[in-house]
Symmetry: C2
Subunit: 208 residues, 2 copies
């Protein structure tokens, strides 16, 4: 088989594995996949030499639509504030839809994500890379003044965590809304910068 054939089969088998997981509510193995879809074990092993290769392919399939919306937003000509909002909001809407369509399967993916965290790392890194670009665009536009980009990335990820973390969307989803997220992004653009605003009380005058 050519590399391209293998790529196509990897993606197809991963989608079949996901359909099986949705049906059974359980994690899937190569053995189970081969038995369920009457695929020769040798063929499965040509595509997934190790059990971990199947998990990696499932992770890739799960992230693909989330990456697609991020790519779309990054390629848009939106101004920085709108762009950062859409960057988080479109993924949130997708995750919420995934959750609402099938809460049990969504929770299974959340559990798998906790167990096989290493496969998700490259997607999380891509999201962080994009967020750094958005921060640079916001700074060029006069926002997030003076902030170190990595520090800003970390603080912003924390402020919007419940809109991007699947576990939290499953847990407190009914309290989340696009309107609240828009207010948070506006607070990032209008209130977050490098200067000490006084909350932490490092200035003598503001101490207890």
């Amino acid at each position: 088989m050519s590399e391209k054939d293998i790529d196509q089969m990897r993606s197809r088998f991963a989608r079949e594995a996901m359909a099986l997981m949705e049906r059974t509510g359980e994690e899937v193995t190569r053995t189970r996949l081969a038995a369920e879809f009457k695929i020769a074990r040798a063929r499965i092993e040509a595509v997934f030499p190790e059990e971990s290769d199947l998990l990696e392919a499932i992770t890739a399939e799960w992230f693909a639509p989330k990456i697609a919306v991020m790519d779309e937003v990054m390629a848009s000509g939106l101004p920085p504030r709108r762009k950062m909002y859409e960057f988080f909001a479109r993924r949130f809407v997708l995750l919420r839809q995934n959750f609402e369509e099938d809460p049990a399967t969504f929770r299974l993916y959340v559990e798998m994500g906790e167990r096989y965290f290493e496969y998700a790392q490259s997607y999380i890194d891509l999201g962080d890379h994009y967020l750094c670009e958005l921060i640079a665009e916001a700074q060029a536009d006069g926002h997030l003044t003076g902030m170190d980009v990595d520090f800003a990335r970390s603080v912003i990820n924390q402020m919007v965590l419940c809109y991007i973390q699947p576990y939290l969307i499953a847990m407190i989803g009914e309290r989340l809304s696009e309107d609240k997220l828009a207010h948070i992004v506006d607070a990032i653009f209008d209130g977050l910068d490098a200067k000490d605003g006084g909350a932490g009380g490092s200035s003598q005058l503001q101490g207890v």
Copy 2:
């Protein structure tokens, strides 16, 4: 036994149950508690008529120091911005310390908190009640302009979630810091208000 005696024993038995959980890494039952500490079953049942009464008492003991720091901050004469920061920061420092001292037991409490959510509800409600007071004080000081108090409470809880949610402190604790929390509280005071800042793109000019 008088009501006061029972209260004292409830608190003492709950602390003994917690010490047992720390040692064994497992949830504790009335039977186990009676056996371990050679307490007569009748005495345990006088204090905890139902299994759930033991869980409720453990929850109360676990929350007591967190309530104490909240009470302390609420009683302070700090200006609103500093007060809101301390309100979240002192609890965060306490939770982080609990986690660092004994990560396994901390995770056990997190799991129990998810399973017996109803016992924690009154403490969460108290935190929300205090936060509403802080919002009113901030508004009297010219911040969070025009915001509905419940909407502001919900958005602020979301913005600082990783500093108050024990599960998140266990999961991403190494990325959390007082400095980042201070920047978030400053963004709340300097950038969060009722007006549409444009992130959500509801205004025609800011659409795609």
